[in-house]
Every structure is written in C-alpha cells, then in structure tokens.
C-alpha cells in the first residue's frame, strides 16, 4: 500500500505545480488556484478508471472546475498581481505590472476554449498534440482556436500593440 501511496505522491509532485499555474493563469488568484489545485486531485481520486493520459485528464478536471467556478463567480477585474519580480527600476516594474494587468484582462475576455488553448500553449508550453488531448479535439481545431484567440487578443489590446515600449520590457523580463 505504501508503494501505491508513494506513486500517488509522485503524481502530485509532478503535476500539482503545472495544474496550479494553469488555474492561476485562467483565474489570476493565487489562493484560489491553490484551493482548486487541491480539489483537482481530490476529484482525481474519485475517478473510477485509470485515464489514458494522466496530464490531459488532470487538465480537463482543472478546466471543468474553472468553468464551474466562473459560472458561480463572474470574473472580477481586480487581479492578483503578486508575481515575482527581479528588482530593477520601480517605474519600469510598474509599467510591466500594468502590461500584465492589460494582458490578463484581455485574456479573461476570450471565449473559454480560446483562453484554454492560449494558456496551455503560450504559458504552459504544451504542444498542439498535448492540447488536443486536453480539450479532446483534433490538432486542426487547436490551430484554429489559437488563431482566433490571438486575433481576438490583438483586437482587444488594440492600438497598444503598436507601442514599442511594452515589447522591449517583455524582452528584458524574459
């Protein structure tokens, strides 16, 4: 039994940080993301059968929890921006924080599936094939959602996109 527990502990250690990041990027609230991550693994224990792809299965549970949460709590505009910063010029850091807020607001206005694909691809680094398994759609649909999601973001961000300054700061942050 302790071997099985050890395996399950390994599953938690491997996937919990990834699931946390995914939920955090979708909801923008650290303590909420921690609570929902914990709930994802409780639901995982309730599963009756072993999934074909564990990562995809966990991301799907997380997505369903996010959808349920957003249904009960419509998105608020106040976003938790308690992200690590690596010091530097306060004015520059403030500009980066504003950029984050702008991007998060735009991201949260996307349709749920577009948001899901954009977060999994550009913030979680999943491949198209992995995303297709998570959203249970063909790779072609992932490409289409990615295209539509980026186009919507471009429209939402509007004229700000053409300003060079934020892009330069993004380069420095990375």
């Amino acid at each position: 039994m302790s071997d099985a527990l050890s395996e399950l502990g390994g599953v938690y250690d491997t996937y919990a940080p990834k699931i946390f990041r995914y939920i955090y990027h979708r909801l923008g609230d650290q303590s909420l993301a921690e609570d929902l991550t914990s709930e994802v693994f409780v639901r995982f224990l309730n599963a009756r059968v072993a999934p074909n792809n564990l990562a995809a299965f966990l991301y799907r549970i997380a997505h369903n929890l996010i959808v349920d949460y957003l249904r009960q709590h419509p998105p608020a505009l106040s976003l938790d921006e308690d992200v690590p910063s690596d010091g530097g010029d306060p004015a520059q850091l403030a500009e980066i924080e504003m950029e984050r807020v702008r991007l998060r607001r735009a991201l949260h206005r996307l349709a749920s599936e577009q948001q899901q694909v954009i977060v999994l691809k550009f913030l979680e680094g999943l491949s198209n094939e992995e995303i297709a398994r998570v959203i249970d759609k063909p790779v072609g649909a992932v490409k289409a959602l990615q295209h539509r999601g980026l186009a919507t973001l471009r429209d939402l961000l509007g004229a700000e996109l053409r300003r060079a300054a934020p892009l330069e700061q993004v380069e420095r942050v990375k």
Partner: protein, 176 residues
Amino acid sequence: MSERDFESKLDDALRRLMLDVPVDDLTASEPDAADLIRVARRLQVLAPTPAPQLADGRRRFLSLAARRLDRGGSIVDWFRRTAPRPALAFAVALVALLVAASAMIFSQSNPALQMTLTQTVAPTFTATPTRISFSPDGARSVDLRLSIDSHDLPLPNPQPVPAPVISAIKLTAFHD
C-alpha cells in the same frame, strides 16, 4: 491563401517563436501573421507565477488516498496494482533461481534421468491408426493416424546430452 493554410503558417511561426527565434525574423518571414506573432510574444510577460503553497494540498491528497486504498473502488486500485514492489520481485527472482539451480544439480547427479528422457521421447512416434466409421457396415470410414516427428539436439553444458526436439505433429486422415 486559405484559412487553414494561414493557420498552419502561423502555427509554424509560433513554434519557432517558442524556440526563441527573434520576433523580427519571424515577422519579416511571415508579414501576414506579424501582429499575431507579436501578441503571442507579448503574452510571455504573464509567464512568471507566484510560488504556490501546495504542501497542505499534498497532505490532504495523500490522507484521502490512504483511506481510498483501504476501501478500494476508485482509481487508487489501479495504482495499487501497478505500483512497483521491489521486495516481491526479489522474492520471485530468488525462488526461480533456487528452482533452476536445484534442477541442474539433480539432473547432473542422476544420469538415469538423462537416459530416460532421451530414450522415451527421442524416436519418431507413430500411433496405431484409428478408423472412424460413418455407416453401420463400415463402407464410409476414415483412418486417423497420429505421428510425432523429432530429432536429437546436443545440449552443451555440463555434458552433451541428446535432447529431442519435436519438429512436427501430424494428424493424417486416410479415406477409403
């Protein structure tokens, strides 16, 4: 360009973006997708996340998992079945080794066993034909003959002992 072609070109450019190809190179090679590539690049500012506090969640998860393991009937059963059991694997390997060693010692100390094996099985075996009748007077019948073809194969260690290798088992029907 069809929408699907554009999506493929965009996807290829985004894949290269994730591999840290400079944005300017990508936008120069894919001007139609330049604004979307810039949006994707801009999203990277969101990548840093706060360090999560997951220890409480881990304790809760493992505590619940332990109770489920006692009770059964959920995904934990699958983990219980597939979890590696080093002690059990070692015990099985040890028993197999002991059985193999005992058999080797026993066969070396008992030449009669080798003779019995060779003499009993090695020759080609042919059973007496059996006739099956399909009519009371035996006018319609079939003969069945079972034969086993084998040949000797020398085994190397510790002493060459001819061992039979069955090369064919035939069931032949002869119709009158």
